[in-house]
């Protein structure tokens, strides 16, 4: 998944460098704050050794089928063992050393590679693992299972985003590159998930105190809402950009059988055709979709509040 130089458009490569620098900067600040507070996971020597461990652990593989082997990338494992911020710094280091020492990934593409594997794979993967662990009850088994699921997701997300970057750079066609990358990485992700689960189970059995270094914590409501809103906005924007313009199943059948003219007009038009009146293009659809999502979330929150007040009255 390490992109070499020359495959990404320079503008995209430089933009991803800038984005990566900002997020790594945030990780460094969080790490410094954790260290000042006496945190155990931001220790530089431990981080350096874990970086070397990730390198060495990537040598371990196991046969899945003829000619295919499962192996470890290690993003979620590093994030789980050191915490998301320290794990991100470790993976940033590992990917940088891979590019400098082994020419595995380009120098101009280094920002993209760190973004795809270090930030999406490690930071994103670990935060998802924590959220899943909370949802599953927060026990030891839940945390390890969540790490496995997040490990698989992190590989798939990294592969998908790499394919999108190649598509946006004009190197490949997204409609072919995306399914191809995801198809291959489905199996690589399974290897990642199985090894992550087995490694964490081994560590939890042999040295349970190490997994307690970064406990699962409850984040504030404002942060959860903010993170949810951000994720929704990204998904909606991407889905809108790559959405098919072909008619849906019913419309397609209606056109084929010639009964589209029977359709009665709507009594009112707010965002007809998922577009803002007076605004054209993808931006119009994205804004309409965001407003729609906000209305749905607002309704759910309102109904939740009504239900809570009714429960209090009863």
């Amino acid at each position: 998944m390490h992109l070499p130089d020359g495959f990404l458009a320079p503008q995209l490569a430089l933009a991803l460098w800038a984005l990566t620098a900002v997020i790594v900067g945030v990780a460094l600040r969080r790490l410094a704050a954790s260290r000042e507070a006496g945190g155990a996971t931001g220790r530089p020597i431990l981080m350096g050794l874990v970086g070397a461990f990730i390198f060495a652990a990537q040598m371990f593989n196991f046969p899945v089928a003829t000619g295919t082997s499962g192996h470890l990338l290690g993003g979620v494992l590093a994030g789980y063992l050191l915490g998301p911020w320290a794990g991100t710094i470790v993976m940033t280091t590992v990917i940088g050393v891979q590019a400098l020492l082994f020419q595995d990934g380009g120098l101009l593409a280094l920002g993209a590679n760190i973004f795809n594997m270090g930030i999406i794979g490690t930071l994103g993967g670990t935060l998802i693992a924590r959220a899943l662990a909370l949802a599953l009850g927060g026990g030891r088994g839940a945390r390890i299972a969540a790490a496995g699921i997040a490990g698989w997701l992190s590989v798939m997300a990294g592969a998908g985003i790499t394919a999108l970057q190649l598509g946006l750079s004009g190197t490949t066609d997204i409609s072919v590159g995306l399914p191809a990358m995801l198809g291959v990485h489905v199996f690589i992700g399974v290897g990642e998930a199985l090894i992550t689960v087995a490694a964490l189970t081994f560590i939890a059995t042999t040295a349970p105190d190490l997994l307690g270094a970064e406990p699962v914590t409850h984040t504030s409501l404002a942060r959860r809402v903010g993170a949810g809103a951000g994720a929704t906005a990204i998904v909606i924007s991407l889905a809108t950009l790559f959405a098919s313009t072909d008619p849906d199943g019913l419309n397609s059948v209606a056109q084929a059988l010639g009964f589209t003219h029977v359709e009665a007009g709507a009594p009112f038009n707010l965002f007809a055709g998922y577009a803002i009146p007076g605004l054209d293009g993808a931006a119009s659809t994205i804004i309409a979709a965001l407003i729609g999502a906000a209305v749905i979330v607002g309704l759910i929150l309102l109904l939740s509040r009504v239900a809570a007040s009714r429960k209090g009255d009863a």
């Binding site: 992109l3 070499p4 130089d5 020359g6 495959f7 990404l8 320079p10 790594v24 460094l28 410094a32 220790r43 530089p44 431990l46 981080m47 350096g48 050794l49 874990v50 970086g51 070397a52 461990f53 390198f55 060495a56 652990a57 040598m59 371990f60 593989n61 196991f62 046969p63 470890l72 494992l77 063992l81 710094i89 280091t93 590992v94 940088g96 050393v97 400098l100 020419q103 595995d104 380009g106 120098l107 101009l108 004009g170 190197t171 490949t172 066609d173 409609s175 072919v176 590159g177 191809a180 199985l194 087995a198 490694a199 964490l200 189970t201 081994f202 560590i203 042999t206 040295a207 190490l210």
Partner: protein
């Protein structure tokens, strides 16, 4: 004989050169094969200076070629500048000249850029590059972590090799013919591999603790940045200006030289 920068020298000019040359190559437009060839001559000249022959450099640059697979579909999916279209068995497809240009340009750029990185790592060893990056304001946590990763990399890889040899001896090897040679089910193999990874982490953790104790007892503060910075290169500004002009020349060659 290679001409590596001796340890303790300021290698910022070398790092900046590699980055600017790679950026100039990335900025070359589609189909600028003559400009790519010119860039390759610049890279192999630098390679010859540090002691790598062009053929060896070209061979080592081939590690970028597997990514050709990512670029191949565009040859068949573009519908402009059709060079050929027809059917092979039940499949009908076409070859696009524009797609071929995109794929070939991307692969050649990747190939030359990898060679530029190889020249850099041959000229300057990895710890010196980390020191140069630190001087270029690379955050201390990353510099220290990278320095230690490089220092302990071989040690932990040797440890991993010993563990893999032991696994092979106990029949969970990924190589071998027949089910008996490769152990039990996929789940069993994955668990065995995961156990090895967990075990390796515990060994790395224990070693980190020992190093931390030793370093703390000697008054270390957890950073490798104290007292190890080499003297600054007095001609750095001149070198950077020269490299900038070279990168500009390569970029302009992409705009001015004929494209195919």
């Amino acid at each position: 004989m290679s001409r590596a920068v001796p340890g303790g020298r300021d290698a910022r000019a070398a790092v900046i050169t590699a980055l600017l040359v790679i950026l100039a190559i990335a900025l070359l437009p589609m189909g600028a094969y003559v400009a790519i060839l010119l860039s390759w001559f610049v890279v192999i000249t630098a390679g010859a200076y540090v002691g790598i022959s062009p053929l060896r450099l070209a061979r080592r640059g081939a590690i970028a070629l597997p990514f050709l697979l990512a670029a191949v579909p565009v040859i068949f999916l573009r519908t402009d500048e059709l060079l050929w279209s027809g059917t092979v068995g039940p499949l009908s497809f076409s070859i696009s000249g524009a797609g071929l240009r995109i794929a070939l340009t991307a692969v050649l750029k990747a190939w030359v850029s990898v060679q530029a990185s190889i020249v850099l790592i041959t000229y300057v060893d990895a710890p010196t590059i980390v020191t140069a990056l630190r001087r270029m304001r690379l955050p201390d946590a990353i510099a220290t972590s990278a320095g230690l990763t490089i220092r302990y990399l071989e040690l932990l890889r040797d440890e991993a090799k010993r563990m893999l040899r032991a696994r092979t001896a106990r029949s969970a090897s990924p190589v071998g013919v027949g089910r008996e040679r490769i152990g039990g089910s996929i789940g069993w193999r994955a668990r065995t591999t995961g156990n090895l990874v967990g075990s390796l982490f515990l060994r790395a953790y224990a070693r980190a603790q020992r190093i931390e104790e030793a370093a703390t007892s000697r008054g270390a503060t957890g950073s490798l940045s104290v007292g190890t910075m080499p003297a600054a290169d007095p001609r750095l500004a001149m070198k950077v200006i020269g490299v900038f002009l070279l990168a500009l020349f390569l970029t302009l060659s992409g705009a001015l030289l004929p494209r195919l």
